[in-house]
Structure formats: C-alpha cells, structure tokens
C-alpha cells in the first residue's frame, strides 16, 4: 500500500544531531550489553570520538574511498525503467559499482582504518548475505589483518559463492549452528568472540545496529552516499528529488542515503522485507510488523513472540533477514520523518527482472525491494517528479537464489 498523501510534517530543529552522548535516538539505541562488553565498547567510543575529528584519519579514509572503493559512485538516470513506469523519473545511486559490489565496503573500510589506529591485529565480522563478510575480508586483505567471519549455516548454503570469496581473500569463515542459523545468530557469535579476544580484536558490525557507538559510527561511514547524491542531483537537475527510496534490513544503506536529506523537503521511504506477506508472519519487517524491545545492545523495533523471544525471520534476500533494525530508523519512524513500508519476495523478484531487462543492471535482491517500491510509487507521481533509489548492491550473488526460486537448475 502506498501512502502518498502523508501530512507534510515540518521539523524545526535539525534531525542530524543525534544520537546523544550515550547513544540514544529518542527512546532508542543506548548500550544494552553485559558488563564484559562495556569496556570494549567504551574503548571503541573513545577512539572513534578522537579519530572522527582527526584530519589525517579523514584524509586517509577519503583517499581509500576514492582509489580503493571507487567513489564517488555514479547517479544514473534509469530512462527505460522510468518510461515503463509512466510517471516520475527514477535515478539509481550506483552503490553496486563500488569495489566488492555493495555499499558495505564504505563502513568496512572506515572501521578497518580505525582498527589500525587502535593497534588491533584481528578483524571479526558477522554476515548474512555475505556482502559485509566479503567487504570485511577485503579490507583485512588490504591492510594485512587476520580475519574471522561468522555466518549462519543456513546463509552459508544460500550464499556459497560469497563463502568461497571470503576464503579466497584469506578470511576464516566460521559456521554458526545456534538458534535460527542466520544473521542474528552470527552476530551473537561475533560478540562472544569479541568479548573473549578483546585485546587484539576489532569487531566490524555491518549495519547501523548494536551498542553505541556502532549505529552512529556505521551511519557516519555511509553518509557519503547521501552527500554525493545531493550534489549529483543538484548538478543534474538543479533541484532536490521528490523522494528517496532504500531497502531496510538493519538499515545501513538507507540511513546512508537519507541522512544528508533529513532536514530537506524530500519524502523518504524505507522498504522492509515483506517475505511471503506481512499477514503470514513470514517476513523480516521489524518496523512494519514488530514492536520496541532490546536486542544486540540496543533498544529498537524487533520481531519477537509474546514472551519476548526473538522470532525467526523470512526473506528471499539474506541481507534483509534480520529481526531488528537500526535504532535511528526506529526513531525516524516514530517521529514520522521516514515512511516505512514492505515489499514481498515476489514483488522484489519482479523488480529484479524488470531492472535487469530494462537497464542491463542486475540489482541485489535487497535493493530489488526498494526498486519494487519505486515502480509502484512512480506511476502515481508527476513526470517532473524525481525519485532516487539506492541501488545498494549488485545481483550477481543472487543468481543462484533466483534460479532456484524459479525452478531452474544451473
């Protein structure tokens, strides 16, 4: 369901100044970790506070974002897709063209540079679709860190190629067999590793969730997406877009795109994984179908049962298959600044094919959720309206999933 006629809320104060000192976005975020993790989390907070203002750090990050990642990523006008939709013009922010094929590398690079400054020698990460694991393994190879990636056995099957890719890069991929054997369990396992090897280990969380400072720090490393987009659309069109759309699992690519526009008169849409449909319960839409609770170090919207146990989630896209969401999104939902909605597996697959055929760009299944939403939104808008979709990753990793879903054996 599309909601075009939302009341035009105006916010007098900038929405770009959160979190507060202790990591709160309104009632969300914070640091809900065992005392065993408070030391490491505090050490990280202090280091990040220092280096985020450090000119040398920022210069090195900027240089590697350009020469290693390939930034800025282009903003591409999808002309044939737009004309098929018969409405607003659709631009794509091409994060799929980054090194390793997704936005995830922006954050992995930033945290790896921080790890280097902190004197850590070992990087660990959790991964769902494998994109964050690949990004972490990549920066580990780039800087010569030891690297261990935790991945649920369920996801290792779905994303076998990414598992091999991480191993080629020299990372050790540890299968996680606890719980639902997906992203949330990989995150649990990575936290256990961190608390055990805190002296030499840096934990690179892959999304804007976890205890403070992660939601803020991961966001900061992705804010370049929106800042570039803002400049690019202004020079291409001479004005701001009507709407931005991004998929939301944990929400890192979405916050990266949205943040630079939070104070602008631009509609923002976050699209969660509707799976088989919200009414079936088989989905991964924490904001649209969940309620506030505490998991993985922060207060945010969660998918849980009536006893407060975390529910298993479902999405065709492993990268959205997570029962929580970044706390900043929880806050943006409550204050009404971002509209969160869902697209189903089927709608995402349709969008995957549509973009592949109309533009010769194969989107990740995660990003396909945002595209599917854009394809519904565009026809209801005017021809001089502009929509920008964050094409957060490329779809090569999903070919096997798409084929299997359509009964094709490769």
């Amino acid at each position: 369901m599309l909601r075009l006629n939302e009341k035009n809320q105006s916010f007098k104060e900038s929405l770009r100044h959160l979190p507060d000192r202790d990591g709160h976005f309104g009632p969300y975020g914070g640091r809900f970790v065992a005392e065993t993790l408070m030391g490491p989390v505090e050490e990280l907070r202090a280091a990040y506070e220092r280096y985020r203002r450090d000119a040398d750090f920022q210069a090195e990050l900027k240089r590697d974002l350009r020469d290693f990642v390939g930034r800025p990523s282009p903003l591409y006008l999808a002309e044939r897709l737009s004309s098929q939709c018969k409405g607003a013009r659709i631009y794509l922010k091409r994060e799929d063209l980054n090194h390793t094929g997704a936005h995830k590398i922006n954050n992995a690079l930033g945290q790896a540079l921080l790890a280097k400054r902190m004197g850590k020698t070992r990087l660990i990460a959790e991964t769902g679709a494998g994109q964050h694991g690949v990004a972490t393994a990549t920066v580990a190879a780039r800087f010569g860190f030891e690297c261990v990636v935790y991945m649920g056995t369920e996801d290792m099957q779905r994303q076998a190629i990414n598992v091999y890719r991480m191993r080629l890069l020299g990372a050790k991929v540890v299968p996680v067999t606890s719980g639902s054997r997906t992203l949330k369990d990989a995150l649990n396992e990575a936290m256990r590793d961190w608390v055990t090897h805190v002296d030499n280990t840096f934990y690179i969380i892959g999304t804007v969730a976890g205890p403070h400072p992660y939601p803020m720090m991961v966001r900061d490393f992705h804010v370049c997406i929106g800042e570039e987009t803002r400049g690019q659309i202004l020079s291409a069109e001479g004005r701001l877009p009507s709407a931005l759309i991004a998929c939301v699992g944990g929400g890192s690519n979405a916050i990266g795109l949205f943040h630079a526009f939070l104070d602008d008169p631009v509609k923002l849409y976050g699209v969660e994984a509707g799976g088989a449909g919200l009414h079936t319960g088989k989905h991964a839409a924490s904001l649209s179908g969940g309620r506030p609770g505490v998991l993985h170090g922060n207060r945010t919207y969660l998918l849980e049962d009536d006893a407060g146990q975390i529910r298993e989630t479902h999405s065709i896209s492993a990268g959205l298959d997570y029962p929580g969401v970044g706390p900043e999104h929880a806050w943006l939902k409550d204050i009404g600044r971002v509209i969160y909605d869902t697209m189903t597996d089927t709608q995402a697959l349709q969008a995957f094919h549509a973009l592949t055929r109309s533009e010769g760009i194969m989107p990740a299944l995660e990003s396909s959720h945002a595209l599917a939403y854009a394809m519904q939104l565009a026809p209801a808008m005017q021809r001089d309206d502009i929509i920008i979709v964050n094409l957060s990753g490329r779809g090569d990793k999903d070919i096997q999933t798409v084929a299997t879903h359509e009964g094709i054996e490769l």
Partner: protein, 272 residues
C-alpha cells in the same frame, strides 16, 4: 535484613564462602527445575541462580545457549519461571533465589508487573545481564521498591570509574566475571582474579561473588579462599544436558558434582 544479606552475614561469621549454582529454568523440562533446585540445596548450595531462558543469550557460551534452546523448544516462559520459584518456596523458605536473564523477556512481561510478581513468588534478586547501570532505571527502581536486590556484573575490563558507579547501583552482592569471555570459557587466572577482588573491595562492602569459568572442585576451592561466593553454571548445566531417561539419575549426578564443590571449598577454608 533481606534473605541474601542474611545468608551472606551467616556465612561470613562462619568464615565460609557461598556456593551459588546456576541452572537454566525449564531445562530439560519445566517439571524438572524445582527438583533440581532442591537437589542443589541438599548438595550444599547457599544461594540459587536460576536462568530465565532467552533466544539470544550473548553473554553466555554454548552450554547455556543450548540449555536456553532446550527450554524454549517447549516454550518455558517468564511466568513459568516465577511459578517454579513459588513452588520451590513452599518447601524452602530459607535459600535465596536470584534470577539471571536478559532484558527483553522482562520488558514484554512488564517490568513493574515482573517486580511485583517476583516478590510474591519469593525471588530475592535479579541479574539482568544486558542492563548496565546506565540503562537500569526505571527498572532497578521498581525492583528496589519491592525489596528485590539488583545484582550487577563486574568484568576484568571494567574501569575504576565504572567500578565505583556499579557498586553504588548494586545491592545483594556484586558478581565478578573472572575472565574475558562468555560463561563456561576455559582460561581462569586465579591470581589475576584475586588482585581484582582487592580493588573491588575498596569500593564496596557488598559480598563479592566470582563466576564464569569455574569448571571443577579445584577452581572452586581456589576462588573460595578469597571470594564471598563462587558461582558455577556451565559445569552443572553440561551435566543436565546429558539427561536421558530417569530424572533421578541426573539429579544424582548433579547432586554429587555440587557436593564435591562444597567439600573442596570447605576444606580450603579449614571449616566444617
């Protein structure tokens, strides 16, 4: 005086250290928990720590994670756990019971409702693993209002400033995590623990318990020499995990193991 304070005062005057075994409620099934609690007391436990199962227990190692999974497989709820404490209390009014769990199931239940129901059931304290003092209000206040102790963890990585703050917020006892890691990990360094306890005692007059990584009678005995309580979890839970067939057999195994801990701790202290 609270039940916890009373037990610790009595132990202190006898120069003995509290033995605090942990089990996960509902593991391997709900009806087994109260018999286990009584068996632990018979074997020499002074305080019981009862785990509230949670789907994502990130501070715990594989042994307790799997115990949570076994309990949740047949749907053990927080309400069930409170029922178990109530049933235990009908035969044992003396032994303090501390619940250990994660915040999310408590919040869904309702923190105010929980504090009231826990007090009525006969719970003595709550250790909410993923709730540091910074995030503890208003829940801690609700617990205090019902005379329930709010127990906090201290870790090897806890800074001096945090140590002070945690000791100010804590009541009942403080729980020192003896190693960098999760419950049930291996590398216990007794001398390092001894040094940290000295620092902790400068900040608080509360009893100081030590847990995580206490695997056997030997390590329990060493810690008993300088701590107020020795907390043993995974080593007991791993014995419950072996449960097949008759409950009486598993009860006997657990009783024997815990009794062994008790004897070893008492020998070191030259007591009883």
């Amino acid at each position: 005086m609270s039940r916890l304070a009373g037990v610790f005062a009595a132990l202190k005057s006898n120069r003995r250290t509290a033995l605090v075994p942990y089990i996960t409620a509902g593991d391997p099934y709900n009806e087994a928990t109260v018999p286990f609690m009584h068996a632990l007391v018979e074997a020499g436990a002074d305080v019981l720590e009862l785990g509230v199962p949670f789907s994502d227990p990130i501070a715990d190692g594989p042994v307790i994670q799997q115990a949570c999974e076994r309990a949740l497989k047949h749907g053990t709820t927080l309400g069930d756990v409170l029922g178990m404490v109530k049933e235990f209390r009908s035969r044992d009014a003396r032994t303090p019971v501390v619940l250990m769990g994660y915040l999310n199931p408590l919040e869904i239940f309702g923190t105010g409702k929980f504090a009231g129901a826990a007090a009525v059931a006969g719970v003595d304290g709550m250790l909410t693993v993923d709730m540091p003092p910074e995030e503890a209000e208003p829940f801690a206040g609700l617990l205090r209002a019902k005379d329930l102790d709010c127990i906090f963890l201290l870790a090897p990585t806890t800074t001096a400033a945090r140590l002070k703050r945690i000791c100010e917020a804590a009541s009942g006892f403080v729980y020192y995590v003896s190693l960098k890691g999760v419950t049930g990990a291996v590398s216990l360094d007794v001398q390092a623990v001894r040094g940290r306890l000295t620092a902790i005692r400068r900040e608080t007059r509360l009893p100081v318990g030590v847990g995580f990584g206490v695997r056997d009678a030997g390590s329990a005995a060493q810690l008993a020499g300088f701590s107020d309580a020795v907390i043993v979890g995974s080593a007991i839970v791993s014995r419950i995990a072996e449960h097949r067939g008759e409950l009486a057999d598993t009860l006997a195994t657990v009783r024997e193991f815990v009794h062994g801990l008790r004897l070893a701790m008492d020998v070191v202290q030259g007591g009883a």
